[in-house]
C-alpha cells in the first residue's frame, strides 16, 4: 500500500485535494456521490416547496392560492422533479455511489470517468427540464399523457428532452454498478457473501439498463410529435394515444422498483445491524429482489385498466401483478424475523427502518386494491392512487433514503449527529407522513379525483387534515437539515465503526482515505455474522 499507517487518520477523501475544481473534476466515487447528494437535496427542496404550495391551495375548496393552470403546473413540476431528479437517483446515484465500492472492498467503481460523466449528464438533463420553468412552464402531469401533452401550449418539449437526457445518466450508473459488482468484489466475497444492499443495487441497475431506453424513445417520439407532428400518438394525426401509455408504463412501472428496491436494500442492512443479529433468510431476500425485478417488466398494464385496453389484457395484467405481492411480503416478514429475539437498538436509522416497514406495508396492501380489477375501476385516478404511491415512494423510498443517510453519515462525514433531535425528527416525519396521506385514501374511496385544482365542499375536512400533516413533515425535514448541518460544523468526531457493523466500508477510517482502504480488505465471514463478541451491544 502506498499510504503509510501514519496517514491513517490524517489524509481523507475530503482533504485529499483542495478547491472547487478538485471537486468538479474528481473521479473519486465518494466525492461524486456527495455532489449527487447536494444536487438531489436541492431539487428535493424545490419539489418539496411545490408540494407545500399544492397542499396549501387545497386547504379550502376554490382556487384559493393559485389559478387552476398554475396549480396544474405545480403538480406537474412536483411530480417530474421528485420522480426524475430526486427519487430515481436518490439512493443509487448518491448513497450507492458512496457506499457500493466500499462495500465491495474496491478502490472505486469500475469506470470512474463514466461515473463523473453520468453526473454531468444528469445535471444537464435537469437544467434542460428546469429551463421550461422560465419559458411557459409545463402542465401535462409527470406522465405526459398524449394527446394533451402534444397539444398543450406550455413548454412540454423541454421537460420531455430533459427527462430523456437524465435517462442516460441512469443507464450509465446502472452499467457501472453491474460491472463493478461483477469485477471488483474483494477477495473472498462470493455471491453468497455479498451484502443485500449490493444485491438490491444490482437488481436496480438491471432494470435501469433494460427499461430506461424504452422511456428515452417514448419521450423522444412525443417530443418529435410536438415539434414536427409525426403522428404516432395523436389521433388527430392518425396516431394512438393509448400506445403512449403502454410505452410510458413499460418504463415507469419498473421505475417504481428502481425507486423502491434500493430502499429495501438499505433496510436489509440497517435492521440486522441494530438487531445485532443475522438477516433472516438472506437467500430468500436476494431472490425476492430478482423476482420483483423480473415481474416488474410484465405488469405495466395495471395502470391502464380503464384506458380502453382489452379485457384479456386486463385479465393478464391483474393476474401477474398479484405475484409482485409475494416476494414483497417475503421481504417484510424477513425483516420482522430479523428483529425477533434480537437485541434492538433504537438509533435514528433503525427508527426510520421501522417507520419504513409499517408505512411500506400500507403502501403494498393498498396496491392490492389497485391490482384487483373491480376495485381498481373505482379507485384509479382518484386520491386513493395518490395516497398509495406516496406511501410507496415517500413512505418507502424516502424513509429508506433517510435510514441510509443517517446510517452512513458518520462514515462519510467523519462526524456524529445529535441523537435526540434525530429521534424527534424521525417521529415527526413518520407521524406527519401518515397524517398527510392517510386521509387521501378515504378521499379517493369517496370519489375525489386526482389532479384537481378545486374540489367539492364535502371533501374539505379531510383535505385540511392532509394539509396540516404536510406542515408536520416539513418541520421534520427542517429539523433534519438543521442538525445534520450542525453535525457537519460542530459534530463530535465519529469513530470508524460507530454501529459495530460487519460490512467492509466500516473497516476503513471515517472519513475514508482517497483510495478507500488503508489495507486491502479480505472477506472471511458473511456480512451478517453476528456471533459471539460481534453480537455485542453498540
Amino acid at each position: 500500500m502506498g499510504h503509510g499507517v501514519a496517514l491513517a487518520h490524517g489524509d481523507n477523501y475530503i482533504n485529499h485535494s483542495k478547491g472547487l475544481k478538485s471537486w468538479l473534476n474528481t473521479l473519486d466515487h465518494k466525492r461524486i456521490g456527495i455532489m449527487y447528494l447536494i444536487a438531489i437535496l436541492s431539487f428535493f427542496l424545490v419539489g418539496g416547496i411545490f408540494a407545500m404550495l399544492i397542499r396549501l391551495n387545497l386547504f379550502s375548496p376554490g382556487s384559493t392560492l393559485v389559478s387552476p393552470s398554475k396549480y396544474n403546473q405545480l403538480f406537474t413540476y412536483h411530480g417530474a422533479i421528485m420522480v426524475f431528479m430526486v427519487i430515481i437517483p436518490m439512493i443509487p446515484a448518491a448513497i450507492g455511489n458512496m457506499v457500493l465500492p466500499m462495500m465491495l472492498g474496491a478502490k472505486d467503481v469500475a469506470f470512474p470517468r463514466w461515473n463523473l460523466a453520468s453526473f454531468y449528464v444528469y445535471l444537464s438533463g435537469a437544467a434542460i427540464a428546469c429551463a421550461s420553468l422560465f419559458l411557459n412552464g409545463v402542465d401535462t402531469g409527470w406522465t405526459f399523457y398524449t394527446p394533451y401533452s402534444i397539444r398543450t401550449s406550455t413548454s412540454a418539449v423541454w421537460v420531455l428532452l430533459g427527462a430523456f437526457v437524465m435517462g442516460f445518466s441512469s443507464i450509465l450508473t446502472g452499467l457501472n454498478f453491474v460491472v463493478s459488482i461483477h469485477k471488483l468484489r474483494a477477495p473472498g466475497m462470493g455471491w453468497g457473501k455479498m451484502p443485500l444492499f449490493l444485491w438490491a443495487l444490482y437488481g436496480t441497475s438491471v432494470i435501469q439498463i433494460l427499461a430506461t431506453p424504452v422511456l428515452a424513445i417514448t419521450l423522444l417520439l412525443a417530443a418529435l410529435e410536438r415539434i414536427v407532428g409525426i403522428g404516432i400518438f395523436d389521433p388527430a394525426l392518425g396516431g394512438d394515444p393509448v400506445l403512449f401509455q403502454h410505452f410510458f408504463w413499460f418504463y415507469s412501472h419498473p421505475a417504481v422498483y428502481i425507486m423502491i428496491l434500493p430502499a429495501m436494500g438499505v433496510i436489509s442492512e440497517v435492521v440486522p445491524v441494530f438487531s445485532r443479529k443475522p438477516i433472516f433468510g438472506y437467500t430468500a431476500i436476494a431472490m425476492a429482489t430478482f423476482g420483483i425485478a423480473l415481474v416488474s417488466f410484465v405488469v405495466w398494464g395495471h395502470h391502464m385498466f380503464v384506458s380502453g385496453q382489452s379485457e384479456f389484457a386486463n385479465f393478464l395484467f391483474s393476474l401477474i401483478t398479484m405475484f409482485v405481492a409475494i416476494p414483497t411480503g417475503v421481504k417484510v416478514f424477513s425483516w420482522l424475523g430479523t428483529m425477533y429475539k434480537g437485541s434492538l437498538h433504537f438509533h435514528a436509522p433503525m427508527l426510520y427502518a421501522i417507520g419504513f416497514i409499517f408505512v411500506f406495508t400500507i403502501g403494498g396492501m393498498t396496491g392490492m386494491f389497485l391490482a384487483t380489477l373491480a376495485t381498481d375501476v373505482h379507485l384509479t385516478d382518484t386520491y386513493f392512487v395518490v395516497a398509495h404511491f406516496h406511501y410507496v415512494m415517500v413512505g418507502g423510498s424516502l424513509l429508506g433514503f433517510l435510514a441510509g443517510l443517517h446510517y452512513w453519515f458518520p462514515k462519510f462525514s467523519g462526524k456524529m449527529y445529535a441523537e435526540t433531535p434525530a429521534m424527534i425528527a424521525a417521529i415527526l416525519i413518520n407521524v406527519g407522513f401518515n397524517v398527510t396521506f392517510f386521509p387521501q385514501f378515504i378521499l379517493g374511496v369517496l370519489g375525489m379525483p386526482r389532479r384537481y385544482a378545486d374540489y367539492l365542499p364535502q371533501f374539505t375536512t379531510l383535505n385540511r387534515v392532509s394539509t396540516v400533516g404536510s406542515w408536520i413533515i416539513a418541520a421534520g425535514f427542517l429539523l433534519v437539515l438543521f442538525y445534520l448541518i450542525h453535525a457537519l460544523l460542530r459534530g463530535k468526531k465519529a469513530s470508524d465503526n460507530p454501529w459495530k457493523a460487519l460490512t467492509l466500508e466500516w473497516q476503513s477510517p471515517s472519513p475514508p482515505p482517497h483510495e478507500n482502504f488503508l489495507v486491502e480488505p479480505v472477506v472471511t465471514d458473511g456480512p451478517y455474522d453476528y456471533r459471539g463478541a460481534k453480537a455485542g451491544p453498540i
Binding site: A236, P241, M322, G329, M365, T375, V377, D381
Partner: protein
C-alpha cells in the same frame, strides 16, 4: 355500548359512497374483504414490531439469538399470501366482468367529452350538456368518445369509470337504483379546467322519465332535495369554462333521422343504399352487428368501433368484393355528434 358500535359502523360506512346500483353493492363487499385482509397484515405487523421493540430491546447481559432463517416459516409466509392474492384476483375478475358487460336491452346514450364539458345525446335526438338524464331501474349503456384530449367518466355512487378517448368508443353501463342526483367527475387530466369538468346524473322515476321524453322541462330543484347526495355541485368555476345552458330537453327529431340527414348531406348515399341494393359501396341494410369479411381474408364484427373506423378511414379494412380507395377519407370532417348520428342511422337499418 350498542350506540358506540352503531357510531363506529356508521363512521366506517361514511368512508364509501352511496350504493347507487347492485354492482356497487357487490363492489363494496369485495372492498371490505380487502380492507379486512389489509388491516390484518398492517396491524399484525405493527403489533409484532411493538412487541419486539419492548420484549427484545437492548438489555444489559442479554444476548441476541443467532438465527439465519427457518425454511418452514419461510414456506408458510410464501404460500399463505399466494392463496390470498389468488382469491383477490378471481373475486376481482368476477365482479369486473359484471361491471363491463352491459345487458343487450340497455338504453344507449352517447357521451361526448370536450374541454371542459360533457355532452349527452339521447336516442330520440335530444341533447343535454352537463346533465345526464336516465331512467330508474333500467340498464343504461353510455357510449363515449372525446372531441379533443383524454377525459375520464366517473360516477362514484355507481363505482363505474372509464377513460374517454379521442378517436375511439369506450363504454360504461349501470342500472340506477336510487332516484335523484348523483355526481359525475372527469378523472383523466385534461387541462386548465379539469377539476371543473363536472356533471350531474339525474335518475328519473317512471313518470318523470316519461315527462322528459315528452319534452317537458324537469324540475331539478325538486330532485336535488333528495338526500342521497349532499353537497352536490354541477359545475365549478374554472378558467375557460364555457357558459352552458343546463339541458336542452326539446329536440324534435330522433337521432336516427338526424343521421339520415347527415348521410344525405355528406354524400354517403351516393355509394351506400339503405334497402339492400348494391351500389359502389356495400349496402347499410343489416350491416350493423353482422360479421364482415375483408379483402385480406380476415373477419370482424361490425360494432360501433368498426363503423367509426370505416367512416373515418375506410382503407383500414376493405370489405371483400369491393375495390380499395373508392371511399373518401372522412377523418376530421365529422363532429363526434354527427358520427354518433350516422352510426345510429346505420344501426337502425336492420
Amino acid at each position: 355500548m350498542t350506540l358506540f358500535f352503531a357510531l363506529v359502523a356508521s363512521a366506517f360506512a361514511a368512508t364509501v359512497p352511496v350504493q347507487g346500483t347492485d354492482i356497487a353493492g357487490a363492489w363494496d363487499v369485495l372492498y371490505w374483504f380487502l380492507i379486512y385482509v389489509s388491516a390484518f397484515f398492517v396491524f399484525g405487523i405493527l403489533a409484532a414490531m411493538i412487541y419486539f421493540a419492548v420484549r427484545y430491546r437492548r438489555q444489559e447481559g442479554k444476548r441476541p439469538k443467532f438465527i439465519e432463517g427457518n425454511t418452514a416459516v419461510e414456506i408458510v409466509w410464501t404460500v399463505i399470501p399466494t392463496i390470498l392474492v389468488m382469491i383477490m384476483f378471481v373475486w376481482g375478475w368476477v365482479v369486473y366482468k359484471k361491471m363491463i358487460h352491459a345487458p343487450l336491452n340497455a338504453l344507449e346514450i352517447r357521451v361526448i367529452g370536450k374541454q371542459w364539458l360533457w355532452q349527452f345525446v339521447y336516442p330520440d335526438g335530444k341533447q343535454s350538456i352537463n346533465d345526464l338524464y336516465v331512467p330508474l331501474n333500467r340498464p343504461v349503456k353510455l357510449i363515449m368518445s372525446s372531441e379533443d384530449v383524454l377525459h375520464g367518466f366517473f360516477i362514484p355512487n355507481f363505482r363505474v369509470k372509464h377513460d374517454v378517448v379521442p378517436g375511439m368508443y369506450t363504454d360504461v353501463w349501470f342500472e340506477a337504483k336510487i332516484p335523484g342526483i348523483h355526481q359525475i367527475f372527469c378523472t383523466e387530466y385534461c387541462g386548465a379546467s379539469h377539476s371543473g369538468m363536472l356533471a350531474r346524473l339525474l335518475v328519473l322515476k317512471d313518470d318523470q322519465w316519461k315527462e322528459f321524453l315528452g319534452g317537458k322541462k324537469i324540475d331539478i330543484a325538486a330532485l336535488s332535495s333528495d338526500p342521497t347526495f349532499p353537497g352536490f355541485r354541477a359545475n365549478m368555476l374554472g378558467e375557460g369554462m364555457p357558459a352552458v345552458s343546463q339541458g336542452d330537453a326539446s329536440a324534435p327529431v330522433s337521432l336516427v333521422s338526424q343521421g339520415k340527414t347527415v348521410a344525405q348531406s355528406k354524400g354517403c348515399i351516393a355509394c351506400h343504399s339503405a334497402d339492400g341494393s348494391k351500389m359502389t359501396g356495400p349496402t347499410w341494410k343489416g350491416l350493423a352487428g353482422s360479421t364482415r369479411k375483408f379483402a385480406d381474408g380476415s373477419e370482424g364484427k361490425a360494432d360501433d368501433a368498426y363503423l367509426r373506423e370505416s367512416i373515418e378511414n375506410s382503407a383500414a379494412k376493405i370489405v371483400a368484393g369491393y375495390p380499395a380507395g373508392q371511399m373518401p377519407v372522412y377523418k376530421g370532417l365529422f363532429t363526434e355528434v354527427e358520427l354518433a348520428q350516422v352510426i345510429e342511422y346505420i344501426k337502425s337499418l336492420k
